[in-house]
Amino acid sequence: MNTLTKAWSWLTTSAHWYGDDGIWTRLGQHLYLTVVCLLISCLIALPVALVLGHLGKGGALAVNISNVGRAVPTFAVLVLLLLTPVGRFGEGPTIVALVLFAVPPLLTNAYVGMREVDQDVVRAARGMGMTGRQLLFQVEVPLALPLILTGVRVAAVQLVATATIAALAGGGGLGRIITAGFNLASTAQVVAGAVLVAVFALIVEGLFELAQRLAPDWVRDGNTG
């Protein structure tokens, strides 16, 4: 029997799906981590990016700082937090590390989207007597929406992928199936866990793709490159 068939039979064993360390529990934890971290990152990154983009100031600095953030390994942040007092709060370190990881793509995309809004349109809106608030919510944000949503999509998929790392530090989620597989020296379980995470990430990517296709024209009409 090769590894793939062994992995398949691991996946199709119903005992592996139920219980405290079963696939369903791990999937729930993974989903919870991803959704919570995505929400927190959006709440942090989007207002900052929208305001900076609207004012046209300080954004380059924010984008540069968040790009430097890319150089910091999420795993290192996670372990560092684990050893600080934050480490006592269950999933706390994982959530903080993942939020730090998800903020840069959100911030960069939203800021770039805001800056790429046609300045003629902005001037026209201002000429029509729109206030700053009206300009922001009725002109700039709708026009920047495609790029903002691309940022959310990138962040969501990367979060699903990276939440796996929580398992290295003893956290929950699908990564636990992989690390448990390593500890049991069971290549079949490792591969089965990896397939589960990869499929989950692809499903999230697919859902965003679907949502984008079904959305009205003006939301869709952005460049996704």
Binding site: N2, T3, L4, V68, R70, A71, V72, P73, T74, F75, A76, V77, V79, L80, L82, L83, V157, V160, A161, T162, T164, I165, A167, L168, A169, G175, I178, T179, G181, F182, T187, V190, V191, G193, A194, V195, V197, A198, A201, L202, E205, G225
Partner: protein
């Protein structure tokens, strides 16, 4: 009887000079392994990405699959990627390198392709008119003009690779990640912080080095600014 040592190692402090001096060779070995894994992976990635990008540009039918497959590869979580390759490479450095190569492909192929596509048609025609054959056109005109975009991709790929190497700790080939991993299990603060900081230093240094290289390789872009 000697008194128990009362230094920063015994007190388990975050910043500890005694750690740096007593574990110098361990740190040095980890840094070397980190650099080796990163450099080898990025070089192999580059060697694979260039022909793929050229093929995607040359043949329209090749562009879709090449971009599609590399994007899907990028979506696979790092921990899962290493695990999926486990049956092929076993617990080895080659496993980590292979994983990193697959990750760098998306960024490299996309950027090289974007750079090549941005070469103005007039430039190409002018070179052909001057009697440049296809190979000389590619090497002497198109690749140099695509360099800024390609280097941008290379910088992101390299910085991400430096950060991803740490996950290789799961199979024992994680460079500084090994120190972070073992430091986590033994609650060794100085080791975790030192290794994390070194990771960031390596990433930033690599980024600056590539930026410098880009400026030296493309002197014509500086005259405009």
């Amino acid at each position: 009887m000697t008194a128990p040592p009362d230094d920063c190692l015994a007190r388990n402090e975050w910043i500890c000079g005694a750690y740096l001096s007593s574990r110098r060779h361990i740190l040095w070995e980890a840094v070397l392994q980190h650099l080796q894994l990163t450099v080898i992976a990025v070089l192999i990635g580059l060697a694979l990405a260039l022909p793929l990008a050229l093929a995607a540009r040359r043949w329209r039918w090749a562009a879709g699959p090449v971009l599609g497959v590399t994007t899907v590869l990028y979506t696979v979580p790092s921990l899962a990627m290493f695990s999926l390759l486990l049956p092929v490479y076993g617990l080895s450095a080659a496993l980590v390198v292979a994983g990193l190569v697959l990750y760098s492909l998306t960024l490299l192929v996309r950027n090289i392709l974007a750079g090549l596509r941005a070469v103005p048609e007039e430039t190409r025609q002018a070179a052909r008119g001057m009697g440049y054959g296809p190979v000389r056109l590619l090497v002497a005109v198109e690749l140099p003009l695509a360099l800024p975009a390609a280097m941008a991709g290379l910088r992101i790929a390299t910085v991400s690779a430096v950060s991803l190497v740490t996950i290789g700790a799961i199979v024992g080939y994680g460079g500084l990640g090994n120190l972070i991993y073992s430091g986590m299990n033994t609650y060794f603060k100085a080791q975790v912080l030192t290794a994390s900081v070194l990771c960031v230093v390596i990433a930033v240094a690599a980024d600056l080095l590539l930026l410098l290289m880009q400026r030296l390789l493309t002197p014509w872009t500086r005259r405009q600014s």
